[in-house]
């Protein structure tokens, strides 16, 4: 249990996917302009991350059993792509309310490096099934935290007087750098809590 909590908190705070591992930068910079789109996108990411981890875990066992580990990259990206399509169809048919909230973000997630990244990292760390799901949940929640915080920062940036040469993307990246500095402050906190 302690271990699970440590994995979860590591994913959210110290090893934040966006701010420490640079995975999923595209949506982080692109969709974080407004708070509600940021929340919608990150909810969809959490959903797909956890689901694809749960699906790829048994597939990986099959691949390892048959000495086909080198197929991991191809198989996983295809599984994720198919899964996203499937989720989209199922949501559209049975839970239209959820589809309206997350639907437009789902197709974008197929080629989001954070999803493939978390699946590959789980295997690299040889996590068990529950640990893998926990890690994906932590990574997703960390993504959400970074997105929501950054959306707040950007909304304030809108009303700032920025030097002309920094306007637009450069100042956004520098703001991201400052948010990332604040996350450096969490380093060591997990070891501190769980010893």
């Amino acid at each position: 249990m302690k271990m699970m909590l440590a994995i979860l908190l590591t994913g959210i705070l110290t090893e934040n996917f966006v701010l420490a591992k640079f995975l999923g930068i595209c949506p982080f910079l692109g969709v974080s302009k407004k708070l509600n789109t940021a929340v919608g996108m990150s909810a969809a990411v959490i959903f797909v991350m956890v689901l694809s981890t749960a699906v790829t875990y048994p597939i990986n066992i099959l691949l390892v059993k048959n000495d086909l580990e080198y197929l991991q990259t191809i198989v996983f990206i295809l599984v994720i792509a198919a899964l996203v399509q499937l989720v989209e169809i199922v949501l559209k048919k049975y839970i239209p309310a959820l589809y309206n909230a997350l639907g437009i973000y789902l197709p974008l997630i197929t080629t989001n490096c954070a999803v493939l990244g978390v699946v590959l990292l789980n295997i690299e760390n040889s996590y068990t099934f529950v640990q893998s799901v926990m890690n994906s949940l932590g990574a997703g929640l960390g993504f959400m935290l970074a997105m929501v915080m950054f959306a707040g920062v950007r909304e304030r940036l809108e009303s700032c007087d920025v030097p002309k040469f920094l306007q637009g993307l450069p100042i956004t990246l520098i703001a991201a750098s400052l948010v990332s500095v604040s996350f450096l402050g969490f380093s060591g906190i997990i070891e501190g809590i769980f010893g």
Binding site: L23, G30, I74
Partner: protein, 242 residues
Amino acid sequence: MAKKKGLLHEFTKGLVIENPVLRLVLGTCPTLAVSTSVESALGMGAAASIVLICSNIVISALKKVIPSKVRIPAYIVIIASFVTIVQMVVKAFAPQIDEQLGVYLPLIVVNCIILGRAEAFACKNSVIASAVDGMGMGVGFTAALLLMGAIREFFGTGAIAGMQILPESISPMLIFILPPGGFFVFGMLIACANKLADKKGLSKAELKGCEDCPMAGSCSIREEIENSQKAKKEDGKEAVNS
């Protein structure tokens, strides 16, 4: 002669005017993640370039065979195959690079530059033009990575490509090789690129496409999203009217 000039243009546009990193703002994840040193930047640049050139060639050769409805999954399979090959070669011959790049090596599959070029260029142009375009973009990507790697390594460790330049007595600014330094240096480089582009009368580097996602700038999903948003808006209007 004109054709030759065209090919040269395909090559050089990737270097400066359409530099994938600094002008088109594609492939930001690997750019930020592996630019901590010149060595890993070079490894990443080379690996991504090889995948880009090979996938451009194959995709443009197969452009008449692949039905447009399933082109994105087909491109992903082609790209993933080349990434797997590169992964095996790197593991066998340069295990040190493999260690430095870690999970970012297989993640070349989802690098927006590669899928972006497939969608924007290779699926419409001849094999040779696509190969040259891939080379130009690959070299442009590698050059931008190297520039960033050199800056971050110099300020962060006082060395470039492992060679100590600053005397040991000056303590390096470690923050440059930590994640915040990546964002900061990238932001500054984009600002410089914008300034130069402004002087030449070119447009600023900007995230574009649906909700500003650079990936979507070249992906087919954009239209669907725009349509669904339009449909939603119209639905809303109808609801108000009724």
